[in-house]
């Protein structure tokens, strides 16, 4: 069933080209959520977010309310909003930062108040130059408005906000690497335990790290209540979600839809969304949630965009980015490019990830370029097994962070779904598809 786009976080930017300005923000209910929040007890706000069952929108899907409840009591605590969006094919936070920066800031401020945090940071991906400019401008405006700073809106609550620019490293999206980077260090993920920054985070202080899309939902939840949010979607997948659709579709783009109610088929084929596979070709495979996710075949297109359903089917909704491959797409080349990405972005701390990604990249390139051997398929699976024993989903962890266990997803999917195509590369001494395109 195709549901109408239920716009919570994209309502303003869909309707107004100047959605990033303070003028438009205030004219469309901006900072009303913050005013309401400041007149409410922090524990009541936290309870509303719990009732909303808002799942973190960064990729892991951890409930935001639970994350908040884990914040260790201490004199100094921090809130860090993760805007380092780098998972390939994901471009929702980029949109929210550039087109509705005040919404990001208002959500951040409400979260800070609910958590009793006096200093918040928005870590913005360095490559988002325009996003940094708009966030900084919005931050200046919010200070001038009295929404940030000392005794905000006369509430007695004080908070500071710093817009922090990243400098280009995929791994800094991992929350402990992000904190290291924010401390002025190389973006090396921290050894766990402690598992959660809520216990030990920035400078060792308890820290909540929330994604940009997650905090963008907070003003609406504050104004409309957690129950209204939870009434959208079904099961544990509540509210709406901003999906990024790309690859071989007629209309690549972002679509905010009610969770669970819309299927992959709707998103790819409906005229209101993707408009079908490009040039009327056949769907070959799709990536349901960023390149860390195992691929789906056409048999999975009727699954709902639902975190649990996608998880049960052997992949993940991850960062909400869906990549469509059609019959002109070479599975080996697609897997190779994803392996190359992980090889380039591995921080190098853990051997399975650092070495395994390079091995896999080189073997896949050899297959694509015509130097492959039949035994390469087993060799690839063996390398995957060394990174994540068993090569199943969810993956076993042998490394400090989840970058390593994400490496096998694409290559193992490719071999399992398109074994004959991989073998044909060996037999024909190179790519049989690329030439035909």
């Amino acid at each position: 069933m195709i549901t109408d786009a239920a716009a919570i976080i994209t309502a303003r930017l869909s309707a107004h080209p100047d959605s990033h300005t303070l003028e438009r923000y205030l004219a469309t209910g901006g900072y009303e959520g913050l005013r309401r929040a400041l007149a409410t007890a922090p524990e009541t706000l936290r309870e509303e977010v719990n009732k909303a069952s808002l799942l973190g929108r960064g990729g892991a899907g951890f409930p935001a309310g639970r994350k908040w409840s884990m914040l260790r009591q201490a004199d100094v605590t921090y809130l860090v909003v993760n805007g380092d969006e780098s998972e390939p094919a994901t471009f929702k936070d980029h949109l929210l930062i550039e087109r509705d920066p005040h919404q990001v800031i208002e959500g951040t401020l409400i979260a800070a108040y609910a958590l009793g945090v006096e200093q918040a940071f928005i870590f913005c991906r360095g490559e988002f130059a325009l996003g940094l400019e708009r966030l900084t401008q919005a931050c200046n405006e919010a200070y001038a408005l009295g929404a940030i700073g000392h005794d905000i809106f006369g509430s007695g609550f004080s908070v500071d906000l710093v817009i922090h620019p990243g400098a280009g490293a995929y791994i800094c999206g991992e929350e402990t690497a992000l904190l290291e980077s924010l401390e002025g260090k190389r973006g090396f993920p921290r050894i766990k335990p402690p598992y959660f920054p809520a216990a030990v985070g920035l400078y060792g202080a308890p820290t909540v790290v929330n994604n940009i899309e997650t905090v963008s939902n907070i003003p609406w939840i504050t104004l409309n209540g957690g129950d209204a949010f939870a009434a959208l979607g079904q099961g544990s997948s509540t509210g709406t979600r901003l999906f990024a659709l790309s690859g071989r579709v007629e209309r690549p783009g972002w679509f905010e839809v009610e969770m669970s109610k819309t299927t992959f088929r709707d998103l790819i084929y409906a005229p209101a969304f993707g408009g079908g596979v490009k040039d009327g070709k056949e769907l070959k495979a799709l990536i349901p949630g960023g390149v860390s996710a195992p691929w789906f075949g056409p048999e999975h297109v009727d699954l709902g965009l639902d975190q649990d359903a996608v998880g049960k089917a052997g992949s993940m909704l991850g960062s909400g980015s869906i990549v469509v491959m059609d019959e002109t797409t070479c599975a080996v080349r697609a897997a190779w490019r994803i392996a190359r990405f992980f090889w380039r972005e591995s921080c190098g701390q853990c051997t399975p990830c650092r070495e395994g990604s390079g091995w896999i990249e080189k073997i896949l390139r050899r297959l694509e370029d015509g130097g492959g051997r039949e035994s390469d398929l087993d060799l690839l699976m063996d390398a995957c097994d060394n990174i994540s024993p068993g090569v199943h989903w969810p993956p076993e962890q042998t490394t400090i962070c989840v970058l390593g266990p994400s490496i096998p997803s694409a290559v193992a999917s490719g071999i399992r779904m398109f074994r004959d195509e991989f073998l044909l590369h060996v037999k024909e001494g190179g790519c049989p598809i690329r030439g035909a395109r």
Partner: protein, 210 residues
Amino acid sequence: MAPLNEESLARARAVVALYPERRSALIPLCHIAQAQEGWLTPEAMEQIAGLVGVTAAEVRGTASFYDMLHLEPIGRHLVAVCTNIACLLAGGYELLEHAEERLGIRAGQTTDDGEFTLEEVECVAACDVAPCVQVNHRFFGPLDDDSFDRLVDELRSGALAGDVPRHGVLCRVERAVGLLARPAGDGAPAAAPVAAPVEPPARKATRKRS
């Protein structure tokens, strides 16, 4: 090759004052240095080390981790062509090949006149306009061979100078205020951006994490 000028130093000190610990300003200060010179000079790294209280080697060791920080001079325009999955499916490699031909350099190289450096980059989160290119971190896409050529012409002629500042200039909006949550004298960072003393690099005891 130059150290930070007075204007950059003033910006740097205001940024240092925003963080509970000075070292957090390391990367923002590297961006300030790049905004001045287009790349991260050894002299600037020395100064940054003093400003944030680490050694110059630690600044270099940190900066070298990050793709956006350039330890060698590069062109005025950093042309970054994405070839990751969404762009690959939309012809990103074909576009990169064309870019190499048009600019007469390979990815990773700089033109002789210092105008362009070409890079093959990972996903820059603009997959709805694939294949996409960033010039000095400003987005362009979707591009084909012809629109790429026009882009290069406009960059060379200066027609796009307003939209695309030279490499290194990242955020052209300055933060207007310092920290305000706690009134000055509260034992917390002062309200207005103040000059942080430039101290010789000192090694601090490693903070215990657990």
